[in-house]
């Protein structure tokens, strides 16, 4: 299976700051890939390098099989890009905006245009500058979906939007996801979790992990051990355990390589036999926070 997005040791340096620092990334075709990470992790910079808005300092990236440095002009007939802070031609009316873009794309689907305008409830006769932030984002997304791109790249599209608008945007996006690869960066982890098929965690310009959402959810567990008496926390325990802590007779930690048999065996080796063992699945947000805290305490 080919990768619509592939990056090898990609670096982008701004003066003394390494915004992207050796990014290795491979996005499978047909995936809804969520790039997550704390503020300043380099998500937006990485996307702008992929879109050839910035030139990489070193390393290389390919988007739809084309070197990212050669992505321009007609390359964007196959790429729909939306960014939360994109400057749209605000003086245009929605109708004129779509009409202006229409001839740029051979694959523009006028029926889909009507469908998206209707679904997003876009007022065709209003100027873009008169629209709310959510409506502007919907207009931008409509203009990025309507030509049926092979790759949809969204940079923080959901930030600051009310839940209704977010749902509409995600629904609109999912309708197109069957025929495209979606690459989305977001802080809205709860929303991402509901539709992303893959997730990559970026921190300080590096990809810490990148895997299928199911696999990620499968390997992280909140573990709660209940003892008869308060246990003594061990000095050594498996590397895959994070945030080990005790409260009275209860010990909690996050298992990042969960395998019920192996994890149970490790628990027995470290603590003996607890009275009760509970493995709880974790939300993406909880996994994200656990990862972020673990890396912060390590650094």
């Amino acid at each position: 299976m080919s990768s619509p997005i592939r990056a090898e040791n990609l670096k982008k340096r701004f003066r003394r700051v390494d915004a992207v620092n050796g990014l290795d990334l491979e996005v499978p075709e047909g995936a809804i890939y969520a790039l997550v990470g704390p503020n300043g992790a380099g998500k937006t910079t990485a996307i702008k390098v992929l879109m050839n808005i910035f030139q990489p300092t070193s390393g290389r990236a390919e988007v739809l099989g084309t070197d990212s440095r050669k992505i321009h002009g007609k390359s964007f007939c196959s790429i729909g890009y939306v960014s939360e802070n994109q400057r749209l031609p605000d003086w245009m009316r929605v109708d004129a905006f779509l009409a202006y873009l229409r001839p740029f794309y051979p694959s523009w689907d006028s029926e889909l245009e009507d469908d998206l305008v209707s679904r997003f409830d876009l007022p065709r006769d209003r100027k873009l500058k008169q629209l709310s932030r959510g409506m502007r984002m919907k207009a931008a997304l409509a203009a990025a979906l309507v030509f049926r791109p092979r790759l949809i790249v969204l940079d923080e599209p959901l930030g600051g939007l009310d839940p209704l608008v977010r749902d509409e945007l995600i629904e609109g996006l999912l309708d197109r996801a069957e025929e495209a690869t979606v690459f989305i960066s977001s802080h809205d982890l709860a929303e991402i979790e509901s539709f992303a098929s893959h997730v990559g965690y970026l921190e300080q310009g590096r990809l810490v992990f990148s895997e299928q959402m199911g696999a990620l959810a499968g390997r992280f567990r909140d573990v709660e051990l209940t003892f008869d008496v308060s246990p003594i926390l061990p000095g050594e325990y498996p590397d895959s355990w994070m945030h080990l802590n005790a409260s009275a007779a209860v010990v909690r930690f996050v298992e990042s390589q969960f395998d019920e048999g192996r994890t149970s065996s490790q628990i027995t080796q470290v603590f003996g036999a607890p009275r009760n063992v509970a493995f709880a699945p974790m939300s993406l947000r909880s996994i994200f926070l656990a990862m972020a805290k673990a890396r912060r305490s390590t650094s």
């Binding site: 002009g73 400057r87 031609p89």
Partner: protein, 520 residues
């Protein structure tokens, strides 16, 4: 082509107000000028500053249009939506070029054509010159403004850049005026073209770079670098070596095209310099008689420099001074001005001194000589345009002027007439001077077939040399309808320098005398 037209149409829709305002400004200017031409006596009641504003509004609006068109797809911001759309840079640039051609070049071209036609010239005959003006507007206005626009994202930023550049230029000009310089023309047409060409290529390069690469720091560095280079050029004075190279001394045995003879000054009273005793500098003037210029020649003194050596070992050399004297056939007196430090003057005033005056000159010969007979009112002159002379009814003192209106630009021209052929009526109660030849010239010269202007018409006025007229009762007949005039094109025959030496001079004798250029 489709994408070019789409972007162009979008720009027109976006900037229709600016476009209309620009066309209105140009139209108002054209209408005002034509109205004034048609009614030269009417003043229209417009204050001068409003007239100036009206003239400036067209070019200002063109600058605005260039900025707005370029910045509508900003090339410096990484948040522009168009960057991730299927824009092709060549087509984007072509769309902007089309916008500029239609709303900057075409209005200028149309105004040029209207003014030419209204002045009695057929525009089709001057198509090359009109296209040259289009090239000039691109080089002088469009490209520089576009260069700044491609490295900025708002009109405020453009204004700040312009303000910065303006302040910088003013600062360099102020500094330049503080540096003792020798303002002698040493450049040639080719160097003008070369400078203009380099400027255009640099600006065009910046624009192309931004449209292809969108990395603004390089063009910004180029602007700063160019400013430094220009400052260096402006602040480095023209050296004596450069002038010596431009005006080499005559070869041994080579005769100058004119004779220079020092005129013995009138001895000054002892207290002659008391009037300026408090000044740090002492102004002197050395009278020289120039003669011997051939009948078909003109010598233009580009500059003079004086070296003084005193018997007690003192030395002082002036900087080059550009006087622009025209030495015609016959005799003329020129006064070489020089300003020396008072301390040197005080040391030298009682000591015999040696003055060596160097004259840098250009010798022009008449070429393409043709005779015209002046007519009443306006009359066409081949190779010139439309000329006129004063009416015989005007005061006799004003009958020494011929005016000409040139299509596109005035060319350097020499004119002369014989007073014996004058058709002007005799002046009652005045004695007619002996027959002589009176000369006039128009020597302003700029490169290329036309100058950049909305009105592609230039007026040159030939003021004929005034023979020494101190005798109120003697007059020399002027130019009136019917007087034959010989016109010619000056051709540079020689550029060189020559020297005159005055030995045993007393500097006090050269203290200010009310003597300036005159012919005898």
């Amino acid at each position: 082509m489709g994408q070019i037209l789409r972007i162009f149409r979008k720009d027109v829709r976006h900037f229709w107000i600016e476009i209309c305002a620009s066309l209105l400004a140009v139209s108002a200017y054209v209408w005002r000028v034509l109205h004034e031409w048609g009614h030269p006596q009417s003043v229209m009641g417009l204050p001068n500053f409003l007239r100036g504003l009206l003239m400036a509004l067209g070019p200002i609006s063109w600058c605005l249009l260039v900025v707005r068109a370029v910045q509508d797809e900003s090339l410096v911001d990484d948040r522009q939506f168009w960057v991730t759309r299927p824009y092709e840079w060549e087509k984007l640039l072509a769309a902007k070029a089309l916008f500029v051609v239609l709303f900057v070049n075409m209005p200028l071209f149309t105004a040029n054509v209207i003014f030419l036609a209204s002045s009695g010239f057929s525009p089709t005959r001057y198509l090359v010159g009109l296209l040259w003006i289009q090239l000039l507007i691109v080089i002088v206005l469009v490209l520089p403004v576009a260069s700044v626009s491609v490295v900025t994202s708002t009109i405020v930023q453009v204004l700040l850049w312009m303000l910065g550049i303006g302040t910088y230029v003013a600062g360099v000009a102020s500094l330049s005026s503080l540096i003792p310089d020798s303002h002698i023309p040493t450049s040639t047409d080719n160097s003008d073209f070369l400078s203009m060409g380099i400027f255009a290529v640099v600006c065009l390069g910046m624009v192309l770079w931004q449209y292809t690469q969108r990395r603004a720091w390089i063009p910004r560095a180029v602007i700063v670098g160019a400013a430094v280079v220009i400052a260096a050029g402006a602040l480095v004075p023209t050296t004596a070596t450069q002038i010596a190279r431009a005006y080499p001394p005559l070869a041994v045995g080579e005769q100058p095209p004119f004779h220079l003879t020092p005129i013995p000054p009138k001895p000054s009273p002892e207290d002659q310099d008391e009037a300026q005793a408090s000044e740090k500098k002492v102004a002197l003037s050395v009278p020289i008689r120039a003669s011997g210029v051939a009948g078909d020649s003109l010598v233009v003194i580009a500059g003079t420099r004086v070296a003084i050596r005193t018997r007690n070992g003192g030395q002082w050399t002036s900087k080059w001074v550009n006087d622009g004297w025209e030495i015609w056939p016959g005799e003329q007196t020129v006064s070489v001005p020089l300003e020396i430090d008072r301390s040197f003057f005080e040391q030298s005033r009682f000591v015999p001194t040696n003055l060596r005056i160097t004259f840098a000159f250009t010798e022009d010969h008449e070429m393409n000589t043709r005779q015209i007979i002046t007519q009443a009112g306006e009359f066409p002159v081949d190779g010139v345009g439309i000329c006129w002379v004063s009416s015989p009814l005007v005061d006799y003192r004003e009958r020494n002027v011929v005016g000409c209106r040139w299509p596109l630009k005035a060319s350097p021209t020499l004119a002369r007439y014989e007073t014996s052929m004058s058709t002007c009526p005799r002046v009652p109660h005045k004695t007619e001077g002996p027959p002589t030849t009176r000369y006039a010239s128009y020597l302003n010269e700029t490169s290329g077939p036309a100058d950049l202007a909305m009105i592609p018409i230039q007026t040159s006025t030939f003021y004929f040399t005034q023979p020494d007229d101190r005798d109120d009762t003697t007059v020399f007949p002027g130019v009136c309808p019917g007087t034959p005039i010989t016109l010619s094109t000056p051709t540079v025959a020689r550029i060189a320098s020559t020297e005159v030496e005055i030995d045993g001079a007393d500097l006090r004798d050269y203290l200010p005398q009310p003597v300036r250029v005159s012919s005898q």
